[in-house]
Assembly symmetry: C2
Homo-oligomer: 318 residues x 2
Amino acid sequence: MRKTCNLAEVAEFFKSNDCFGILTHQFPDGDTLGSAYGLCSMLQQLGKKARVLVNGGRPPKKFAYLEQLAQPQDFNVENYVSVDVADAKLLGELDVYAEQVKLAIDHHNTHKPFAWVYYVNPLASNCENIVELAGELNVTITKDIADALYTGIATDTGCFRYTNTTSKTHTIAAQLMDCGCDAAKINKAMFETVSKNKKALESYVIGNMEYFCDDKIAVAHTTKDILKKFNIPEDEVEGISAIPRTIEGVLIGVTIRQKNDTTYKISVRTNEGIDASAICSQLGGGGHKAAAGCAVDGTLQQAKEAVLAVAKKYIEEQ
Amino acid sequence: MRKTCNLAEVAEFFKSNDCFGILTHQFPDGDTLGSAYGLCSMLQQLGKKARVLVNGGRPPKKFAYLEQLAQPQDFNVENYVSVDVADAKLLGELDVYAEQVKLAIDHHNTHKPFAWVYYVNPLASNCENIVELAGELNVTITKDIADALYTGIATDTGCFRYTNTTSKTHTIAAQLMDCGCDAAKINKAMFETVSKNKKALESYVIGNMEYFCDDKIAVAHTTKDILKKFNIPEDEVEGISAIPRTIEGVLIGVTIRQKNDTTYKISVRTNEGIDASAICSQLGGGGHKAAAGCAVDGTLQQAKEAVLAVAKKYIEEQ
């Protein structure tokens, strides 16, 4: 039977066990990695054995500085725990351990219980849960641990910009800064460093953006040929879909990305109460009010016409 | 005699006087306007008469939402105070009141005293000083006041990214969020909204950026013709100089902007300890370690060659 627990019970689990394997989710981001390496260092500080398991073996280059938090230790894992993993399906290649996960610590209110015991507190980032756990475990938040936990908070809140940010997020950030975290350096690496090729792609995408309905709709696109031209792997295109909506006056920002020879993925981001999911659901997709998606078969031109027909009608009816 | 004072004395000044004119600095930004409108609303809440004076008469469009904080009142100003004004020279067209400023509240540690009495506390933003003053005056920080003060904190810290951000900044941000400020909305307006023309200019500048020394130097440029092509007034080019340094691997980011037919302004931003001011001082300019500037006479090509000669030597000597 899967059951929930409170933070004191989470702390008790760590105190009364040893030899932990900390699982992170696939396509690891700052929050799952920050949570994992922060927790690992905290457990080692308690004299426990712990290591972090990452899809692909090691964190992406951008997060390489987190690895130093886990001192290499020789042991067999006895207790698997997961951090920031909302669903067993998201364990990726680590799903071989799915049945053995004794404890899940997560912040997604969509969490689908898969661990024996789960602690889910829907704060803006899971790293905030780990900060609270540090208090419960009575460990010292060193500068390195503070850096790791700040990384998750900053990345999951878009550096305190997203609507998930609460006063608690800031209170915890203040606590981590008092512990010496190098917020400016982390933020520079996370938010202000882009590869030369990615920047050139962004420039191309912006330069080729099309506007409709008095600039209330902006449409950007990428194709396999364009990605090839700028030498950008498909999984690095993230971020592009945020661009059209940032233009002043744009209510519906559309990004069309070629998925394969005959299918295009459409991402819709909206401003001022326009319902993106209502637009995408008419094309067989779905999502949230401000961000939704769908897929359309055909050529780029056909995909564009399909989404524009719905979006234009939506603007006209406003 | 100009003299300094403490926060209790600042509060006493407001309690024992009335009919305030709150002066902001020229080219008004989020911190001077947030400080002024937040303070104005606080004083009106205390039953005092107060108004905000802005260069140009009204705040820039982006900050228009702050104006509602100052209820229009009919009175003659008896007490001028300034907020976020580091030097009388920065009062712009409001410098006619310079001699009459009874109190300056500022956060610049470079503050040059010009008011009869000045309170300077070098926090990240002057709005943090106003938050502390609210406590001293025992006024309620309403949602609108919280929005105004958060605006200054967010804009002066690059939304908590700059090195000036402290744990106190976050503690105060937490306090303002508890007062109901709409941080996500403010941040979207301040940081994620760009005009169509500005975005197109950015795209052009990035697309025409040149790289040197194994991509360790990136050089961007704008000319009067380019600005004309994209219909961007000269004073809206701000932000462009930040771009070259954001490219991964770039140590020296150079931006060359045409000032007039024969002069180019060069802005140098550096990473990883490279001294920008050392580079610019060789061309007759100066500045800080990570950001400096100079002006070069000649053509764009000559300006580029001049700064590259110095920058390349600097990289080679590393």
